[in-house]
């Protein structure tokens, strides 16, 4: 039986805010694009598994109730499903796909993501993002928002680690430096300086506007298959999933012991690296979906890539941005890319594939063979870490 999971086809649309570009426009472009990129026939797709399109009930129904294989005439499709675990939805799509592949039900699974947020009234977006992950009894009455919640964590992070506002701002500068070189980013060609970050409006201390996420439209798709099949496709150089680990903290941030997710990064990465037969020193690139700058720091600490409390220093020294010795998050995180809802982590996996294939253009990391990808959902409820390599083991 053909086991393991490899990503063999990718497609993306540029992230932007453009209500003229519909959800289905994006969806069809990325589905067709990813299948063509994989070089297979549409009828070889055996399942379609999508991240839940958050706050878009019509598209949610279309996806959950089987429209995609219908519209695209996927004659070999055996099943469909949507997965929702906030920002870790894509991670769960990959895990569900792997189960179908491992059990012999599928050779190829299509994982498409689409989101349009620019057609929603700003008040609705605020309402949705203010309420979706928050406790209606123990957080919401006091005016907690996503930004407020992450401001609380960031303030404590700076207090405990001694990181300065300038060091924290350097994370956003580094992420935007990557994003400025990425044609898929809403901030393509738009790098920021430290002053740009520090002089932007204060949203919720210590987070400035530039350190918060811009909600945007976008999408992408992946075609995945088994290690064995992948090895025979193209030149055989694909992103092979080699290890995976995951941890749950809690829904409500104020009830957590692991305030900065650092222990979850540590435990999940250790599980993933162990399965892959690697240590953190074998990793060429770290792709961290955390949506807020402190995660780019605490993840490095949890991985053991830098000593505890020194994540922000690594960013401030330029080690994690372009040209650094510890490159992180070459697609710019959601801060640098534009946040595309619960399918946001699609962009992280796709960029992992680009880097392993050597197709990341100006952002290409030299000799990029092993990549660690971490995603989180809700307001940091979970931490899912995967190790991908350029060859199966």
């Amino acid at each position: 039986m053909s086991k393991g999971l490899a990503i063999v086809g990718i497609a993306e649309v540029p992230t932007k805010r453009d209500p003229e570009r519909t959800r289905w426009d994006i969806l069809l472009e990325v589905c067709v694009g990813a299948v063509r990129d994989a070089g297979i026939d549409k009828n070889e797709i055996n399942a379609v598994i999508s991240p839940n399109p958050m706050a878009q009930p019509e598209m949610q129904n279309d996806m959950a109730l089987g429209k995609i294989p219908d519209v695209l005439g996927l004659k070999g499709c055996r099943d469909i499903c949507i997965a929702n675990a906030g920002g870790t939805s894509n991670t769960n799509c990959l895990r569900l796909a792997q189960e179908l592949i491992d059990s012999g039900q599928a050779n190829f699974v299509l994982i498409p993501h689409t989101t349009v947020q620019s057609d929603m009234p700003p008040a609705d977006l605020i309402n949705f993002f203010a309420t979706a992950p928050l406790d209606k009894q123990w957080e919401y009455p006091w005016g907690v928002s996503f930004n407020g919640s992450m401001g609380l964590i960031t303030n404590r992070y700076m207090y405990e680690t001694g990181a300065s506002q300038e060091q924290m701002a350097a994370v956003t500068v580094g992420l935007r430096a990557w994003a400025a070189m990425d044609p898929m980013s809403i901030f393509y060609g738009k790098p920021l300086t430290l002053d740009d970050v520090l002089e932007s409006r204060m949203v919720s201390t210590p987070l400035h506007a530039r350190e918060c996420n811009l909600l945007a439209d976008g999408g992408g798709a992946m075609v995945v298959t088994s290690h064995e099949i992948a090895r025979q496709m193209g030149d055989g150089r694909h992103a092979y999933k080699l290890g995976h680990g995951t941890r749950f903290t809690s829904a409500a941030p104020f009830t957590r012991e692991d305030i900065f997710f650092r222990e979850s990064y540590r435990a999940s990465s250790q599980d993933a690296l162990k399965q892959a037969g690697m240590t953190i020193d074998d990793i060429d690139l770290r792709q961290i979906y955390g949506a807020y700058p402190f995660t780019q720091c605490s993840a490095l600490e949890g991985y053991g890539a830098v000593p505890e409390n020194q994540g922000a220093i690594a960013w401030a020294e330029g080690r994690c941005g372009p040209g650094g010795d510890l490159p992180c998050t070459t697609m710019g995180d959601a801060i640098g890319r534009g946040h595309t809802g619960s399918g946001v982590s699609m962009a992280f996996y796709i960029d992992c594939v680009r880097q392993i294939r050597g197709e990341a253009g100006e952002r290409q990391i030299q000799n990029c063979n092993n990549v660690i990808v971490t995603t989180s959902g809700g307001s940091g409820m979970n931490t899912c870490t995967t190790v991908f390599g350029s060859e199966p083991r």
């Binding site: 309402n127 209606k136 957080e139 407020g148 609380l152 303030n155 919720s204 987070l207 918060c212």
Partner: protein, 139 residues
Amino acid sequence: MSNYQKPLPVIQPHSAAFWEGTRQHKLMIQHCRDCDSNIFYPRKHCPECWSENLDWIESSGKAKVFSFSVTYEGLEPMFQQDLPIILAWVDLPEGVRMCTNLLNCDPDEIEIGMEVDVVFQQATEDITIPYFTPSSPVV
């Protein structure tokens, strides 16, 4: 009639005693009679041992700021008149942490570790919301 515009807590049967307490200006913390845990937020089952044999103790209301964030924007219009809002996580001596707002203090004077006391503000006839304020007023 109250003209309170902000969202009211969505109360559950197992949290009703907390909100009955705040009406009487008492900060009540759930307590497990079987494993002796103090529990926040209130639940139907003790999250440590799943006991339903749960009771309530009154907190001193004297807390320490674990973290805070001053929110200037990005909230729904109903919060607009209160901006900036000082969000805080405060640690109670009963060993639990709660989310609240700090009132009557200058955002520039707040420090992590600062001592704060519970205060109560009536929102509607039925609902009184707990907030915290610096123990020694900052001059």
